[in-house]
């Protein structure tokens, strides 16, 4: 797919000015509440009309302010999973699921429909009324309803935000599976990092109605210049690895391109490829090889960039093998250690710094439970 968005809108005091360009896979739109994420996808869905600009998907112009084109929502074939599900209360679960199918030009076959219902784990709910569903069940039905309308693109507006952590962990695998089984490309709005690690191929960061940074999720998260934008608590690079063992003491070993990590046990088999986020604030740097530390995770790394901002801390980009790391240390430590670009250091992180929620299988033939 290729989605091209360049729109400007004025909604009272709020100004939206966003550029988005994606090709395939899942693009996460990330930003604080009020940054314009929902306004952006509402415009893509055709639920709102921007003042200026253009939206094109594949070879179709969906919106063009200059030539006055505005394809109505129902002709765009863009699915939308809303934050609060928005299931039709007067219909049963299966009537909700089939709502879009009657308008689809090429609805799914009976077998495909059954497969979808099976994947989402909602076969037991089919005859229920909507009020009898939990939040997580509602969201799964909403996802199925959107998919059964056979969309060319799927928009998701913080579909898990209204759910507690346990429910989120219960539903995320369905999204991952969908992603893996070649579902439609997705634009996924969230401000939750764990969803980004598990779902994102690309990321677009919005701030105050403007698109600030975009690119592959690996590049954007590994860039020290983006630490403040992502949020100092959340910032951290993604690293790739392969599970090489599950130990008796409850830790799993992951082989990286240069070194090993020991993390709390992961529910995926040995040999599985994983992607995990290592938060910048959990990485400690040492100029000499650390000994006698309680941490077992010590990686040899080279400094590639030092980003000093206005605050008391600095962001440091590191390379270890083919992986990138981010570390956040104080300005004072930087001065005392006399760190510079190109220098070899040791990066230390605690085992608990990489909780299971920050790890996802990157070859999506299965799911981390």
């Amino acid at each position: 797919m290729s989605l091209n968005v360049d729109i400007q809108s004025k909604l009272g005091a709020f100004e939206l000015d966003v550029q988005l360009r994606t090709k395939a896979g899942t693009t996460v739109v990330f930003g604080r509440s009020g940054s314009g994420k929902t306004s952006l996808i509402n415009a893509i869905a055709g639920l709102t009309t921007p003042d200026q600009g253009r939206i094109a998907f594949r070879h179709t112009v969906l919106f063009d302010a200059q030539s006055g084109i505005h394809v109505p929502s129902h002709q765009r074939r863009i699915g939308y999973v809303f934050q609060n599900a928005r299931l039709f209360p007067h219909l049963s679960v299966s009537q909700n699921l089939d709502f879009g199918a009657r308008f689809a030009k090429e609805p799914l076959s009976v077998a495909e429909r059954r497969q979808m219902i099976d994947t989402l784990g909602i076969e037991a709910l089919l005859n229920r009324r909507i009020a009898a569903l939990s939040g997580g069940e509602q969201q799964r039905v909403a996802l199925g309803r959107a998919l059964l309308s056979v969309p060319r693109l799927l928009l998701m507006d913080e579909p898990l935000a209204a759910l507690d952590t346990a429910r989120k962990q219960e539903i995320l695998p369905y999204f991952e599976r969908l992603h893996a089984q070649g579902g439609p490309p997705m634009i996924y709005v969230t401000h939750d990092m764990s969803e980004i690690v598990r779902l994102a191929d690309n990321i677009l960061v919005l701030r105050d109605g403007r698109s600030v940074v975009g690119g592959t999720v690996e590049d954007v998260l590994a860039d020290p210049a983006n630490v403040k934008l992502i949020g100092v608590q959340d910032a951290g690079a993604l690293v790739q690895g392969i599970i090489s063992g599950h130990e008796a003491d409850g830790l799993s070993t992951i082989d990286l391109s240069a070194g090993q990590l020991h993390v709390p046990k992961i529910g995926a088999p040995v040999g599985a490829k994983v992607r995990m986020r290592i938060r910048a604030q959990d990485v400690i740097l040492s100029v000499s090889e650390p000994k006698d530390l309680s941490s077992q995770n010590i990686l040899r790394a080279r400094i590639t960039e030092i980003q000093t901002g206005e605050g008391p801390s600095v962001a440091i980009a590191l390379r270890t093998g083919s992986d990138r790391l981010l570390a956040r240390i104080t300005r004072r430590a930087l001065a005392q250690m006399q760190l510079e670009v190109g220098q070899e250091v040791w990066a230390v992180l605690k085992a608990n710094a990489v909780p299971p929620s920050a790890i996802a299988r990157s070859e999506n033939n299965g799911v981390v439970a």
């Binding site: 869905a45 055709g46 639920l47 109505p72 929502s73 129902h74 002709q75 765009r76 074939r77 863009i78 699915g79 939308y80 809303f82 609060n84 928005r86 299931l87 039709f88 209360p89 007067h90 709502f99 879009g100 308008f103 689809a104 009324r129 909507i130 009020a131 009898a132 309803r145 959107a146 309308s149 928009l155």
Partner: protein, 229 residues
């Protein structure tokens, strides 16, 4: 039990009220939808015109109908000439009067219902491929069912009980325009007619209570359904 004359009066009243309600309902839905959802020039004026029968003395409304829809009236004359429809002093005229008087009540109830429908559900339907008319038919209208029922019952009750505008417009001709209220009124004008009047009064109370009970049951069922239960 009931005499043939009494039965005829009840049947005529029901016939008039039913016709008035059924014909008015689509117009009431359209008007309610316009007032609830659309912004347009002249909306306050439409709102006032719709509500006029509610606030004007019924006699005034009846007289206005006579002027407009009488045989010599601008609308009534045209309808008679081109379509052969006569309102003046006919049961259709009684239905027109009853419908006009009940119209604002129907519009008010349905409008409140439409305003209460979550627009987010309509947006969701649109993203699923439903055109605007399909959204209205499959989402908005079903969700408005309780209000629709309430409006219909109110309109029907008003039509059954309409007196002032009806008697001004179409008088009270037995077998032609004599409805329950006008029959009761006529009987009360005659010395010794109280007993006969009382029978009709009890009858009209019974019809009203029955209509209310039926609508209550239907409304409850619809409300449960719309709430997703």
């Amino acid at each position: 039990m009931l005499s043939a004359a009494e039965l005829a009066i009840v049947a005529l009243s029901l016939q008039i009220a039913l016709l008035a309600t059924v014909v008015c309902l689509p117009f009431a839905i359209a008007t309610a939808w316009l007032l609830a959802r659309k912004k347009f020039y002249g909306k306050p004026l439409l709102n006032i015109v719709v509500h006029l029968p509610l606030v004007l003395p019924p006699v005034v409304t009846g007289y206005a109908l006579l002027i407009l829809f009488g045989k010599q009236g601008p609308i009534g004359g045209m309808l008679e000439t081109f379509l052969g429809i006569t309102f003046a002093f006919r049961w259709t005229g009684a239905a027109l009067a009853a419908g006009i008087m009940g119209f604002p009540l129907m519009v008010r109830a349905i409008r409140l219902g439409i305003e209460a429908v979550d627009k987010g559900l309509e947006d969701a339907a649109a993203t699923l491929g439903a055109s605007r008319s399909a959204v209205f038919l499959h989402v908005t209208l079903p969700l408005v069912t309780p209000a629709l029922l309430a409006g219909t019952v109110l309109g029907f009750a008003k039509a059954m009980g309409e007196f002032g505008a009806t008697i001004t417009f179409v008088a009270s001709i037995p077998g032609q325009t004599e409805t329950l209220p006008s029959a009761i009124y006529t009987l009360l004008q005659v010395p010794g007619g109280e007993d006969a009047a009382l029978r009709l009064i009890l009858l009209s109370v019974a019809v009203s209570i029955l209509a209310l009970a039926v609508s209550e049951v239907l409304a409850r069922r619809a409300a449960r359904k719309v709430a997703g239960l």
